[in-house]
């Protein structure tokens, strides 16, 4: 049976116990709640500042705003490098829902082949975070954009994104000068302020793009955005707009550049044209070229390997980096040195039996014309490019004086202002040879150097610079490519300009110019075939460089080997003689005789620049072919 021991008294006692305990409980509740309130005071009052900072750090994100890269123009405001909007298709997984279904619809809508499905699926997974857009397709065409716009409601999470990308309209013949931009590499990160490049994907790798990287890039802006916990930006709080990169106007004339490209088509060679008065580089062509647009988005390894391993080295900028013996083109400079040192008088003659012999030496150093030119004075020596005369002069001068005077023309040093990666060539000297080979200098070597061969190497840019200095009567202006950076004019005088070359008798310049003019128009002139029907006074000097060695990496078959052993054809010129507007250096690798192959090209360049109407490139090519054939008939040498 049920125990009924609970009496009234018990009940009262229990009620009393209960009351005591519940009062205790009420007290405990109060204390513990006070503890919680204390905790709140600690968090919300004492540590408030810490937490408000932490909560702001949570929600605010600083996003970089990349600046638009500056455009590059030629001297006539033709665009050489622009920013092309491309449209990319992106997918945000977080918003897409059923990714597989969305991709299938996309394939149906765009009519893509079914095998693209796997590719797209893989690309959609590339991004780690589901709220970040993954790149599905790039460079959409208008038709595709329209199709996607119409079907937008069926494609959740799919966006067409506009992005600016570098584009070079004249890639093929501007690539070496302009260089290109490419994805920022580990190596690049060493030389940049990474915070300024936080939102930038591309950086100048070579050429102008590299040299003027800081100016072209501009300054990144930032925007602060409020984000949710998944990192998605919800709204913008404020922004510092980016400062776009400066536009760059180059001294180049793209028509002249294009002409040079056309003239060299199918050959290996380089042309550099400079305006002597300002040092402005009007054209700087290197052939063969390549399409630098391929490098912007990242060239695939196979195509890159093909370019890199091409025997013709299309990636190599011959104009600024190629090193060639300047050969007979240096003879006018040698003459100026001889006059200045007082070793010759303009009227002094040397008898040329067809060779030169050092005293007490039986070895004969041959003139290019085996039976000799007979008696030659300075003017005739330059006109017919007599070797014996300059052997004699070089021997009298000695290597030390020769080397130091040729340094004044810029040989052996890079004096360019803004040509990225320009070579410095090699001006040999006694000290150089000791340092390089630990050998004494032999007098016979002076003779080779005296006619621009031997160890002497120069870049086409240096040759053009030297002839420009010659045209300027020794006045130096550093060659440069930029005419205007932003609002700032780039004009001489430049810092670190080499000292002008001073001759005791300034009239000597005229004598040398006269001799160079005679090269083009004299009856014996080595370039007379290219000097016909001149409408202005042109001065020139040909050169033919013997090819002694081959490139180390090259492998070729017998017929190619033979072709590549041919002499390099060179020609330097300026015009008009009384008021030089252009100086040019042309080199055709393995082209043969300079006057036969290089001179017509130089003439075309001068014609194009000086004559009022710029000829169309087609016409120029026809002329080039015609002149070539006439030159072959005359068959003069150096």
């Amino acid at each position: 049976m049920r125990p009924r021991r609970a009496t009234l008294k018990d009940s009262e006692q229990q009620a009393r116990i209960f009351r005591r305990r519940s009062v205790l409980a009420a007290l405990l509740v109060l204390i513990m709640f006070s503890g919680l309130i204390g905790r709140m005071v600690w968090l919300q009052v004492v540590q408030h500042d810490i937490f408000i900072t932490r909560s702001d750090k949570n929600r605010m994100r600083v996003e970089p705003l990349p600046p638009n890269r500056g455009l590059i123009f030629d001297r006539n405001h033709k665009v050489l490098a622009e920013n092309r909007p491309t449209y990319n298709l992106t997918l945000v997984r977080e918003q897409a829902g059923d990714v597989g279904q969305t991709l299938q619809r996309l394939i149906d809508i765009l009519g893509l082949p079914e095998d693209q499905r796997e590719v797209l699926a893989q690309r959609s997974r590339e991004r780690l975070r589901s709220y970040e857009p993954a790149l599905l397709l790039s460079d959409l065409n208008e038709d595709q954009i329209a199709k996607i716009a119409v079907n937008r409601y069926r494609l959740p999470g799919v966006e067409v994104e506009a992005q600016l990308i570098r584009y070079y309209p004249d890639g093929e013949w501007m690539s070496h000068v302009l260089g290109y931009v490419g994805r920022i590499s580990q190596e690049d990160q060493q030389r940049i302020d990474t915070s300024n490049y936080a939102g930038t994907h591309f950086i100048g790798k070579t050429g102008i793009e590299r040299f003027y990287e800081d100016e072209l890039h501009g300054h990144a802006g930032v925007k602060r955005v409020e984000t949710n916990a998944r990192g998605r930006a919800l709204r913008e709080i404020d922004r510092t707009p980016p400062q776009p990169g400066k536009n760059l106007t180059l001294t180049l004339d793209s028509r002249l550049q294009k002409l040079g490209h056309d003239l060299l088509k199918g050959k290996r060679g380089a042309i550099v044209a400079i305006e002597p008065a300002t040092g402005a580089i009007l054209a700087m062509v290197s052939e063969p070229g390549f399409d630098n647009n391929k490098f912007v988005t990242g060239i695939d390894t196979k195509s890159y390997a093909a370019l890199r391993d091409d025997i013709d080295m299309p990636l190599y900028n011959r104009a600024s980096r190629g090193q060639y013996p300047p050969a007979s083109t240096v003879k006018p400079y040698m003459a100026s040195a001889g006059l200045e040192y007082g070793l010759i008088q303009p009227s002094d003659t040397v008898y040329d039996p067809g060779y030169y012999q050092l005293p007490n030496d039986s070895r004969r150093y041959r003139n290019w014309l085996r039976w000799g030119h007979g008696r030659v004075d300075m003017k005739r020596a330059i006109t017919v490019s007599n070797d014996t005369y300059f052997f004699t002069l070089a021997h009298r001068m000695g290597i030390d004086r020769l080397s130091s005077f040729m340094h004044k023309y810029g040989f052996g040093e890079d004096h360019s202002l803004d040509v990225w990666g320009a070579g410095s060539g090699l001006m040999p000297s006694r000290d150089w040879k000791r340092g390089r080979y630990n050998q004494a200098w032999y007098p016979g070597e002076t003779l080779s150097v005296g006619i621009g061969q031997g160890y002497w190497l120069a870049t086409p840019l240096q040759m053009a610079t030297a002839v420009a200095v010659m045209a300027n009567n020794g006045k130096w202006v550093r060659p440069h490519l930029a005419m205007q950076v932003g609002d700032q004019e780039i004009a001489p005088p430049f810092k670190n300009t080499p000292d002008d070359i001073k001759l005791d008798n300034p009239h000597w310049w005229d004598l040398i110019h006269d001799a160079m003019e005679n090269v083009m128009s004299g009856s014996e002139g080595s370039g007379r075939a290219s000097g016909r029907n001149l409408q202005y006074r042109m001065a020139g000097k040909s050169g033919t460089a013997q090819v002694f060695t081959l490139g180390q990496k090259e492998k070729y078959n017998a017929s190619e080997l033979e072709e590549r052993l041919h002499d390099h054809a060179l020609f330097t010129a300026f015009a008009p003689v009384d008021d030089p507007k252009i100086a040019v250096a042309v080199i055709i690798e393995n082209g043969g005789g300079g006057s036969r192959v290089a001179a017509p090209i130089a003439r075309e360049m001068l014609d194009a620049w000086i004559l009022p109407d710029m000829k169309s490139s087609e016409e120029a090519q026809r002329h080039a072919r015609k002149n070539e054939s006439t030159a072959q008939q005359i068959a003069t040498g150096d």
Binding site: A6, Q14, R39, H48
Partner: protein, 379 residues
């Protein structure tokens, strides 16, 4: 005659009208007022926490409407009936817990739900929050109090089986609350301080045992509580974000629906377990103080009502229910503000959720019942 009849009718209806007071309705106006205040405030916070979702607020309001009806209904039962019904209820719920273990529905890594297809889906462990104090109170109210060793042993047995079943689901929070509800009955029944000291000592000694019986995620929670910075993006994320939310609220708060931590979704489970952090962020220290005051008044009123019960069963049951409610509040707010480890306990009357609010209101219904029902037949 006619006049007389109408007079009689009038008098009777007037008598009946006079009799229609809170007590005859078996309700307590003060408790009701506190409940309504907290629930209404909770809906306002929920609107903000749910991202201005009227759906959540409507669902919650409906749920509380239903829960209020259940409360009113339960308040009509006399404690005597409850006492008689307790054992049956206890056995039923325990059987359901066994059923959950066998055929229960999985959700979020635990097996807590019992589904009767097409009819209802519920957590029997929630019912145990009521069944447990009822049973222990029913048992102890028939014994000589204060309880002795034997009573204690029986109680421990009654408590142990369901608690073990719930802990096994696993549901640490509920098993803890069920345990608390039983313990409160025993303590309020007048268990001598000597016993309390001994049991407390044993409990502390059993801590390592508990540690080794915990699930990995439960251990992780404790470790995270001890050092939340050890894993700021993983397990520590919740507690760091909730502290940041509360702390950044300051004294005045960021304003309703202006809390960046909650609106920008940094705060996890912001409309359920961590809703108090939303309140702390948006209404600041002032809001927290108001809320805690409301809870304090509610609990004090509850304790007073339990004291006014007319028999031991009613007192013990009422006292246990209201103190368990306190544990609810304390554990939740303590966990969100980082003084207690993260245990899945919602904030009563405010957190969005189903079964819990119904059982809570049923509990308040019982409290009202023990307060308002007079002893009609003396024992």
């Amino acid at each position: 005659m006619m006049m007389d009849y109408w007079q009689r009718v009038y008098r009777r209806s007037r008598r009946q009208y006079q009799r229609l007071n809170w007590r005859t309705l078996h309700l307590d106006p003060w408790l009701l007022l506190a409940l309504l205040t907290i629930v209404t405030g909770g809906l306002i916070v929920l609107y903000s926490a749910g991202g201005e979702s009227t759906y959540l607020v409507e669902a919650q309001a409906l749920r509380f409407g239903a829960a209020f009806l259940i409360m009113l209904l339960i308040a009509q039962f006399s404690p005597r009936t409850m006492q008689r019904f307790a054992w049956f209820f206890y056995v039923m719920v325990t059987l359901m817990l066994v059923a959950v273990d066998v055929i229960g529905t999985h959700a979020m890594g635990a097996q807590r739900w019992l589904t009767i297809p097409g009819v209802i889906r519920f957590q029997p462990s929630e019912l145990m929050k009521l069944a447990m104090p009822m049973t222990i109170a029913a048992y102890l109210s028939r014994r000589v109090l204060p309880p002795g060793w034997l009573d204690l042993l029986v109680c421990l047995l009654l408590m142990g089986v369901p608690v073990a079943l719930i802990a096994n689901q696993p549901d640490l929070g509920t098993s803890m609350l069920v345990t608390a509800s039983a313990v409160f009955v025993i303590l309020l029944a007048g268990l001598s301080w000597r016993f309390i000291a001994v049991c407390g000592g044993l409990g502390i000694a059993a801590m390592p045992l508990l540690w080794f019986n915990m699930h990995q995620y439960q251990r992780q929670r404790v470790l995270t509580f001890l050092n939340p910075e050890s894993d700021p993006l993983g397990a520590g994320w919740n507690i760091i974000q909730s502290k940041t939310a509360i702390g950044s609220g300051g004294i005045h708060g960021k304003g309703w629906m202006q809390g960046t931590q909650s609106q920008l979704e940094f705060l996890p489970e912001r409309h359920t377990d961590f809703i108090v952090a939303v309140l702390g962020e948006e209404f600041g220290l002032i809001g927290m103080a108001v809320l805690m005051s409301c809870y304090l008044l509610l609990i004090w009123r509850g304790l007073y009502m339990a004291n006014q019960a007319h028999d031991t069963f009613g007192r013990l049951l009422g006292g246990s229910l209201i103190l368990t409610f306190f544990v609810y509040v304390f554990v939740n707010v303590g966990m969100v503000s980082g003084v207690l480890p993260v245990v899945g306990v919602p904030l009563p009357l405010i957190s969005y959720g189903g079964t819990a609010s119904v059982t809570l209101m049923a509990g308040f219904g019982m409290l009202m019942a023990v307060f308002t029902h007079h002893k009609t037949t003396p024992r």
